[in-house]
Each structure stands twice: as C-alpha cells, then as structure tokens.
Amino acid sequence: MSKGTFEVKVGLAEMLKGGVIMDVTNAEQAKIAEDAGACAVMALERIPADIRKDGGISRMSDPDMIRGIQAQVSIPVMAKCRIGHFAEAQVLETLEIDFIDESEVLTPADEHNHIWKHDYKAPFVCGCRNLGEALRRIAEGAAMIRTKGEAGSGNIVEAVRHMRTVMTEIKRVTRLGQDELVAEAKNLGAPLSLVQQVAKLGKLPVPNFAAGGIATPADASLMMQLGAESVFVGSGIFKSDDPSNRAKAVVEATTHYKDAKRVAAASSGLKKAMKGLDMSEIPIEERLQERGW
C-alpha cells in the first residue's frame, strides 16, 4: 500500500474541482460554510483583510482552533503555513490537515526557498502569478496550484491578471517545438520536464484554482470562465454583511458559472459585499502577491 504519493495528493485536489473553498476563523463560520455547500474550508486565525489591516507578523494558526474546526465539519480542512516554514508544515501534518497552503498571506519565513513538499504525506497548494512560478511550486511537490490574486483586497483584478497570464503562457508553450522548449524553460525559470509536460497536456499537470480577491458570485463565474477549476473565497464571505447567503450564492454561481441567469439569480437580494481596495491604495511593498520566489 502507498500513502502520500503524488497521485494520491492530486487525487484529493481533483475531487475539489467545481467547488468553493472558504476561509473560516472559527467553528461557527466553518459550519456556515459547510451548510452553504463549501467543498472544503481553510482554517486561519485572521482573514486576509484583517491581516492587511492589523499588520504585524502573521503565522500558522493555533492548533486548538484548527482542531475545533476539524471537529465541527466533515469536509476537508485546509490550513496555511508560512512560505519556507517547514516546521509549521510538519505541525499541520501532525494535526492531520487535509491540504496545507504554503501561503503568501502569512509572513514569509524564508526569502529564498519554499518548502520541499514531496517529503510530506499531506498535499500542498501554492499560489502563483505566472506559469514559471506555478511549475516551480509543482517541482517542489505542490499538488494544487491557485492564483495569488491580491488576498484581502476584495478586488478581482489581480486574480484575473494571474489566471490570464498562466493561461496565455500555457497556450504559448503548446505551440513551441521540442527545440524551443529548453530556452522557454530557461525564460520561465521552470524545470524542462514540467514545461514539456505542459506542452503535451495543454494544461498544468495539477488542478488549477483561483484565489485572491473573489467577493461576488459574478467574480466566481468570471474566474471559472477564465479557466479556474474551483475558487477560494477568503475575506469576501465573512467580511460581507450576510455571510451565509453570500456563501450560498457563490456556491451556486460557481456550479452554474456558464449560466448567466443562474448567476444573476444568485447575485440578487444579497446585502453589501466587502468594501474592497483599489490597487492604487495598496503600495507595492504591502502587496501579498510579491511574496514567493
């Protein structure tokens, strides 16, 4: 028998396709998410919008808080560790976390290296802004990729930029000949074997999800139509005025993302979405997406 193989890790990511993964900070929110139809929850101490507002160092969540959420829901529970903080990842694996997010939302612990994720039985998800970054994370063992977007902004523009960039770069790679892929791998900063795999598959070798700024049902539909296979919603739900209804609406819009009438129905009668930030209000040095190498 073989546990924790790359195939078994990607297997869980495959099962989350078409669903919505919601950020929650306590068991009560986790229940709201599960009851709304979330396919998984991300347990974290503060949602990205509050991390941005409060400042300070943002770390892995308290194990007791994570256990409380695991006890509350039956869907997979994910949790975040800092970039390069392999000891936090070891702790999360001990807690039997179903998916570890090595996340730019927390303060990085290593400014050169990410975690070597092949060493863990638990699968990892990592953020990316382009194909090279995605393939570097997959090389390290990530079983799922998500766009970084700009977490906690409530602004979809960065997630769109990152998804468009990844998709355009994938299309480009599929048009290149074998003799051109070495230079392309050099330019992308990605291993040749993975670039060759993308050229053959026409997509990433692991599921490709969207995250970072999704606040409305239409945002979810937009990301799915751009090629995301699932969406993460962070601050967008529990920073809105009616989390339960908004959570249900985002699930409905993600499921029926191609059906504008259903997305319209899901968007109707909701209270205010989170306020959000224009990118000009976030100085470059405060952008979470700049973290990761």
Binding site: M1, S2, K3, G4, T5, E7, V8, K9, G11, L12, E14, M15, L16, K17, G18, G19, E34, D35, A36, G37, A38, C39, A40, S74, I75, P76, E93, E96, I97, D98, F99, K121, A122, P123, K248, V251, E252, T255, H256, D259
Partner: protein
C-alpha cells in the same frame, strides 16, 4: 449534469467523487432529487466515493440525504483523513472464474458497513466491501478513473463488453 433537463440527453449516470455534503445540498437546492430518483429506476447509475454515499439507502450523518439506489449503509470518511488516503492492491471477482487484482485509490474514502441480501460484492479490502452491484446500480468506495480503470464502466454501461466472460487478467495485466 447540473439541471434536470440534462438527464434527457444521457443513457446512464456516474455520480462522481467530491464532498457528499455538497452533493446532497446542491441536489436539493437545484431541484434534482426526484428527477435523479426517477432516472435511476430504469437507467444505469454508478457512484464512486462521495457518489457511493449518495447511492446508499442509509447514511448515519444528518448532513447527507442519499438517493437510496443501493440497499447499503455507508459511513463517511471511515478510512480517515487525507493523510490516510492511499493506493492499494485489491482483488476483484466478477464470477467464480474471474478474479483480477489492480491498484485502487481510496481518497478520504467511505466504508460500506451494512448491506441487504440483494447486494453482490465484487471487491473487498481489509474485510469490507469496496465494490458492490445490484441490478443496474454499482457503487465503489474508490476512484477507478484515477488509475485509468474502465472495467466498471464497461460492466455497467456496455452490456456488449462481456466483461463477465473475458479473461480479464490478459486484458488488464498489471
């Protein structure tokens, strides 16, 4: 398929893996429950993992309301969380002459804890059934698609495939 109308253009159904709480909720909120039950009366339906849970008659978890195609009781996530997920060699037997072993991937898998007399077991792992069939309804604890296994699809959806009489070990030499 996402809306009842989709059922009119298909001959059979695979209820895939995922989260059974989500499947159960969306089946009700999108008015799919009765159309699915009606469809299953005279069409082949296969359920894998979360789909197996939805195929069951009884699921001892109030968050899930199954469709009841198979006279079985299923416990959710009974093999543990993701770090317990695994690929195993499992033996399958389709009739007295045919036994075949192949890699089988279980992801946060459900366990069949009880079953009625009308259920035929075609695969067992660690003493529990992981593949069961009754008429045109088939339930699997695992994910055949993750290991490129189409044998179960043939059994259920392609009567001309003669899976029961073929020498499967020749076809699926592992």
């Amino acid at each position: 398929m996402k809306v009842p109308l989709d059922l009119e253009s298909v001959d059979g159904l695979v209820i895939p893996g995922g989260e059974s709480t989500t499947l159960s909720l969306l089946i009700d909120s999108f008015d799919l429950r009765q159309p699915l039950i009606n469809f299953g009366k005279d069409h082949p339906v296969m359920g894998t993992c979360a789909g197996l849970i939805m195929m069951a008659k009884d699921v001892p978890d109030e968050r899930v309301n199954p469709l009841g195609f198979l006279n079985i009781c299923v416990d959710r996530n009974a093999y543990g969380r993701q770090i317990e997920s695994s690929t195993e060699m499992v033996k399958y037997h389709f009739n007295s002459n045919t036994e075949i072993e192949f890699a089988t991937t279980l992801i946060r898998a459900p366990k069949i804890s009880e079953m009625g007399d009308d259920i035929q077991v075609i695969g067992e792992f660690k003493g529990s059934p992981v593949a069961v069939i009754s008429g045109h309804h088939l339930g699997l604890s695992f994910h055949p698609e993750l290991d490129d296994i189409d044998l179960f699809h043939q059994i259920l959806f392609d009567p001309s495939s003669n899976v029961y009489t073929k020498n499967l070990n020749q076809i699926y030499a592992t």
